[in-house]
Symmetry: C3
């Protein structure tokens, strides 16, 4: 459990960096970058918890998450060029991050007693809606509609988690298997430029 808590803080830190750097490329100032890092890091979990009426919100109840975000934003301020060169590393971190937050989101929703179908949606929301809110605020087409395999990979992992949970697979194995599915789909989609079919 301590490991998980530590990983949540690290994931929040990484999401804040990537949010702050995302906006940097569109020429905003320090405050705009910090705000964007903040929204990216908290948006998904906040939406999930509002939809599920689960209060206090994680970052309001536990101020360590706020400091993890501040640290991420400061890192983006101090080392912008260094961090920007780590594009591949960030792709890796971001992919690990969405896999991890998907599974945590599913678990939290299940622990609040909602049905598995709803829990799967909440898992996906946890992982991707921070980026969607960020893109909406900055007038970008949301990541959801651009890199389509992004959110659908999360949904696939979330569905797998609730299915394995139904068959009483051990939690730790289930986390690893479901996260691996998210990560594998995204890597394969990126490598082979896969995308979902369109309607036409």
């Amino acid at each position: 459990m301590d490991l998980q808590y530590g990983l949540e803080l690290v994931g929040t830190f990484v999401f804040a960096i990537s949010g702050a750097l995302a906006i940097r490329e569109r020429e905003h100032d320090m405050f705009g970058a910090g705000f964007t890092g903040f929204i990216t890091a908290i948006g998904g979990g906040t939406l999930r918890d509002i939809l599920l009426d689960s209060y206090p919100l994680v970052w309001i109840g536990d101020v360590k998450f706020l400091y993890a975000i501040l640290a991420g934003v400061l890192a983006a301020f101090i080392f912008p060029n260094f961090l920007s060169r780590l594009r591949k590393t960030f792709f890796l971190f971001d992919t690990l991050g969405i896999g991890f937050f998907t599974v945590l989101g599913v678990e939290k929703a299940l622990s609040l007693g909602v049905r598995p179908e709803i829990a799967a949606i909440m898992g996906m929301f946890s992982a991707v809606m921070g980026g969607v809110i960020r893109d909406t605020l900055t007038n970008e087409i949301p990541i959801l509609f651009r890199k389509e395999v992004y959110a659908s990979a999360c949904l696939a992992g979330a569905v797998l988690y609730v299915v394995l949970d139904y068959f009483e697979v051990d939690r730790n194995y289930n986390m690893l298997i479901s996260m691996s599915l998210v990560i594998s789909i995204r890597f394969l989609a990126m490598k082979y430029k896969l995308s979902l079919p369109r309607l036409d």
Copy 2:
């Protein structure tokens, strides 16, 4: 009451189809279309219930709404051309739908004890905010600002409902009269290309 419940599910199904098809024209993939259908169908009621602190949200407490949305999205996937040709039919359904959801939204708000002025706003939100959130996410000018008589027709019907309710008009008659007002305004505005005055 069973009739009303059935109509709510049908209305959700229709909103999901029109949401999924709306995005199709902007060349998104299956996941994007499904997500958009989902948001269109649940957005208005979800916003209303969050503002009124009414939990669980309808689609989280009753999974049938989720299946109605899935069915709508699947229908849009399987019969896109057929459904797209039904443009006039959809205009009819959509108009019936916003009238119906406006009145249901007002009733729900009144049943939660808010003042009639607030209930009227909540009725309009129930009917139109799903489309507004969809348009915001997909970087469209929200429908509210394009087809202006759209949301104002809902507000007119919602105000009529609370006025008639104040004068203790029978609920069933009130629903029919208020829905008819929404539907009539929208049809007449469309037929005679009416719009509200601008400020200038």
Copy 3:
């Protein structure tokens, strides 16, 4: 306390006018302008209260705020040209308004028992998020990312308030000092065209 309540209603009225006039310049109709005035006036406080789980929302529990908004929107309808010429007056009112709502937002959050760091963020949200939601709905780059000193001035005032509150400075003095900081930063930034550094 009566003075404060009166100022809140006046502030809501002014925000509704400026919201309704903001959209007027983009050629929307009466309903669109009214909706935008409404969102601008209630958005920030509503987001704050949803995040803090504080219900009923201010404008839902006390219908006077709704009437202050309606009055503002009507004023914008009836005297659009007169009010538009008052650009400098509005800049003054808007600046006083964001200073005032920042401090009220911090106080409300503190009274709900959250940590000072969170309360400072909530103060800034109260003041600026109505405008951000308005800009997002109307496909503008949010004010937050355009006039960068706008939101950061609020954050500075909010941080000052929680610091002085920690040192037990009298509430009335604290309000005046913290509001003055917000207002001074914004005026100086406007006069000398100051802006925060970018990351590059």
